[in-house]
């Protein structure tokens, strides 16, 4: 029992980290995905308010025209609330008199109410006071902020709006977020969804292929080079990975700029000056795949190199005296024994390529047009960097959630298909 507690104690930092940095984000993503949160709704809840500018869109709803007219023309209403405020500021008598004569009456314009106030037995003489007093009876709902639905409904009642329209108006007036599944139906409807999905598939498949094949090529070719030369080569090819992404992509930008290296060299041969990264979507895809591919390939190279080195030398010697040339040695001896690292790289890179978008963001930002916009980047753009300024957290989370499920599905598939358990439990290379 004690050791179990101790073990738990030692494990707790990891558990806490897993909870806060993995489970919680996923949970929040799930929660957000079922809301319409955005910059305008905020994430904390909201108030009830209908502004002048919204009147136009209010007419498009099913609220009756009479109610809308009333909302607009409500003007000033002698209400108990107003009277109470009046009593406090201008005396009980004035309020009492007004209640007796005018309770429930409305005035379209402030001028009319001011006239009434002046003509009271106990009038409010000062013009400015009268104005202030009149303002106490402003009844319009428009432009007014109500903290709760009850207050808003009470105001509607006071304004004398048909109760049939109350629900619709309350819903319309709510400024906070609500639970909804609209994000998913929207995703299903939008043509851009398919576009992003196919972009992602294309991007992952191409980059992955490039990663693995180029990583293998580098590992095998450096394996056959003499020691120091091989290390130098590996170090050079490892640069993309240790370089900060911003710097690395910046260099690519310079390289492909319309006055950059490629453009200049191509210019000598009469090619028109153009941005070699963003000229067409083909250019953009090539750049994106190469940028990500070199980074991934360098990791693959390191992993594959050490895997090759783990193959006993005598086995390679044996294949040589058995008559195998270099190519046959690679094909029959080295590659079959690289099954595990290749599978590992494939699954690891698939998952990381699906979710990472920083290099694309920095390089093309999904352009030109939306031709290199992948799913993760779309989620980012929707939720965190919208050109229009309204960040749609809910929709973005829905994008992300889809990615979470694809990731989990792929992981399970890989685990099953590659039988990771067996691969992990047995030594990789038997003697």
């Amino acid at each position: 029992m004690k050791t179990r507690l101790l073990a738990f104690g030692f494990l707790s930092p990891a558990l806490i980290a897993v909870f806060f940095f993995f489970l919680l984000p996923v949970l929040l993503t799930v929660v957000f995905a079922f809301t319409n949160m955005s910059t305008s709704t905020g994430i904390m809840g909201g108030a009830y308010q209908i502004n002048e500018t919204q009147m136009g869109s209010l007419r498009d709803t099913e609220v009756s025209p009479e109610s809308i007219e009333k909302l607009e023309g409500a003007g000033y209403l002698i209400s108990e609330a107003g009277l109470a405020a009046l009593a406090e500021e201008f005396g009980e008598d004035t309020a009492e008199e007004l209640r007796d004569d005018y309770l429930g009456e409305t005035f379209a314009a402030r001028r009319d109410l001011e006239r009434v106030l002046r003509n009271l037995d106990d009038p409010i003489r000062n013009t400015r006071d009268r104005k202030a007093a009149a303002d106490l009876f402003v009844s319009t709902v428009i432009g007014e902020r109500f903290d709760t639905a009850e207050d808003f409904r009470a105001a509607l009642v006071e304004t004398g709006i048909d109760p049939a329209d109350h629900d619709l108006l309350t819903e319309f007036a709510y400024t906070g977020w609500t639970w909804t599944t609209a994000n998913f139906s929207l995703l299903a409807e939008l043509p851009s969804t398919m576009r992003y999905a196919s972009n992602t598939a294309f991007y992952v498949v191409c980059t992955l292929t490039f990663n693995i094949l180029f990583g293998l090529f580098l590992a095998i070719s450096t394996f056959y080079l003499p020691g120091r030369l091989a290390n130098t080569f590996r170090a050079i090819w490892f640069l993309p990975r240790i370089l900060p992404p911003v710097l690395y992509v910046l260099m690519w930008n310079w390289f492909t700029w319309d006055r950059g290296f490629i453009a200049t060299v191509a210019g000598w041969f009469g090619a028109p000056q153009q941005n070699w990264m963003l000229h067409t979507s083909t250019h953009a895809w090539t750049a994106v795949i190469l940028i990500n591919g070199f980074v991934g390939a360098s990791l693959g190279m390191i992993l594959f190199s050490s895997a090759i080195k783990a193959i006993p030398t005598s086995m390679l010697y044996a294949s040589e005296v058995d008559g195998a040339n270099r190519w046959q040695q690679v094909r029959y001896i080295i590659l079959p024994q690289m099954r595990w690292p290749i599978l590992f790289m494939t699954s690891y890179q698939t998952l990381s390529l699906l979710t990472s978008f920083e290099y694309i963001l920095l390089a093309t930002d999904g352009g030109p047009g939306r031709s290199t916009e992948v799913w993760a980047l779309a989620a980012y753009h929707t939720a965190l960097n919208n050109y229009g300024g309204n960040l749609q957290y809910g929709l973005g989370a829905a994008y992300a959630l889809a990615l979470v499920f694809i990731g989990i599905a792929l992981s399970i598939l890989y685990l099953r298909f590659f039988n990771f358990k067996e691969l992990l439990s047995k030594p990789r290379i038997e003697q």
């Binding site: 006993p312 005598s314 086995m315 010697y317 044996a318 294949s319 040589e320 005296v321 058995d322 008559g323 195998a324 040339n325 046959q328 029959y332 001896i333 079959p336 024994q337 099954r339 290379i429 038997e430 003697q431």
Partner: protein, 347 residues
């Protein structure tokens, strides 16, 4: 096919491991490269099969100069110490691999694999992977793989080192049988003198990159060229005894042995006396005390501390009533005493 190394030199960087070595292995002969670790025997083997390039000298298979021929085209079969079987292939694929890379037709490969599998007697294990085979079975697969191309030379690098004692005995006989049956020229690299003596026609005993003696096992045992050779061969090992040659051979402070015939030097020398040449069966002459008895089943090893200095080892049939602490007076077979100079040269 005859194999001939001429003035073979091998250096790794600035370190010269082997200098101007000459070696000829006759056609169909099995030659042992024997020596302690680091003597250059494996280096020689790797140079012969082409894995290491020779720094100097020439190598001939028959009349063909193969010095600069790459390993792939050398027609050698090699059995490595750890067998170096390909773990992802079945025994059948392992054996057939050399033919596969020669792009031979499948039917031909299958036929040859069967022939070799029958030769090494693993016909029923062909569909297993190396991990599913015992050490001896792996050894047989490795042997079959090395022989399938009908190589000019078969090279065996410590082939028995990874086997347990019983299997080692069995494989020793097996390898020799297969080598005899096929008549292939073979070189066995080993540090185990028993293996070398029991399996090979001739032994090249190496030390520090040089061949110190090249002879048949019997002659090398009976007539070693140096103290090193005498000490390296024989189990239990030979005993060395400092002596002074005068009228007689003075041993230690007080004892003497008769001078063997043909010994002509005077002064300090070293005598080599094998355990079977010392004991009660050889009469009397040397007094001493038993300080160590090691039963080995069929026989016993007995160490005797001689009066006046020196230790001699004897091997006696079990049942001889010798106990620790017994005083003995045993003789030496005079004709079998080996004499060396204090530098270790045979006299």
């Amino acid at each position: 096919m005859e194999l001939r190394l001429e003035k073979f030199t091998k250096a790794f960087g600035p370190v010269t491991v082997i200098q101007d070595m000459d070696l000829t292995v006759g056609s169909g002969e099995m030659m042992a490269l024997l020596g302690p670790s680091g003597c250059g025997k494996s280096t020689t083997l790797f140079a012969i099969c082409g894995i290491h390039k020779m720094t100097g000298g020439r190598l001939y298979f028959g009349d063909r100069d193969v010095t600069s021929v790459p390993a792939q085209q050398r027609s050698v079969g090699v059995v490595f110490q750890n067998y170096a079987l390909y773990p992802h292939m079945t025994a059948e694929q392992n054996i057939g691999f050399p033919l596969k890379v020669m792009r031979q037709p499948k039917a031909e490969i299958a036929k040859e694999v069967q022939r070799l599998a029958d030769l090494v007697q693993i016909g029923d294990l062909l569909d297993r992977r190396p991990a599913q085979l015992s050490g001896g079975q792996q050894q047989r697969v490795a042997l079959a793989r090395a022989m399938i191309r009908k190589p000019d030379v078969l090279l065996l690098d410590e082939p028995l080192a990874n086997l347990d004692a019983k299997l080692r005995l069995e494989m020793r006989a097996e390898i020799r049988r297969i080598q005899r049956e096929t008549g292939i020229t073979a070189i066995l690299v080993t540090h185990d003198q028993v293996e070398a003596m029991s399996m090979c026609d001739r032994i090249a005993l190496m030390r520090d990159g040089k061949i110190v003696q090249l002879d048949t096992p019997e002659r090398m045992y009976a007539d070693p060229a140096s103290q090193f050779v005498a000490g390296f061969l024989g189990n239990p090992p030979i005993s060395f005894l400092p002596a002074r040659a005068g009228e007689q051979l003075a041993i230690g402070q007080s004892q003497v042995l008769p001078r063997p015939a043909g010994l002509e030097v005077q002064g300090d020398i070293v005598l080599g006396i094998r355990p079977e040449h010392f004991g009660p069966q050889h009469g009397q002459g040397l007094h001493g005390e038993v300080i160590f008895v090691e039963p080995q089943g069929r026989e016993e090893l007995v160490d005797v501390q001689l009066d006046g200095g020196g230790i001699l080892r004897a091997i006696l049939p079990t049942g001889d009533p010798v106990k620790l602490g017994d005083r003995v007076n045993w003789g030496v077979s005079g004709g079998n005493i080996l004499a060396f100079s204090t530098e270790g040269v045979r006299l």
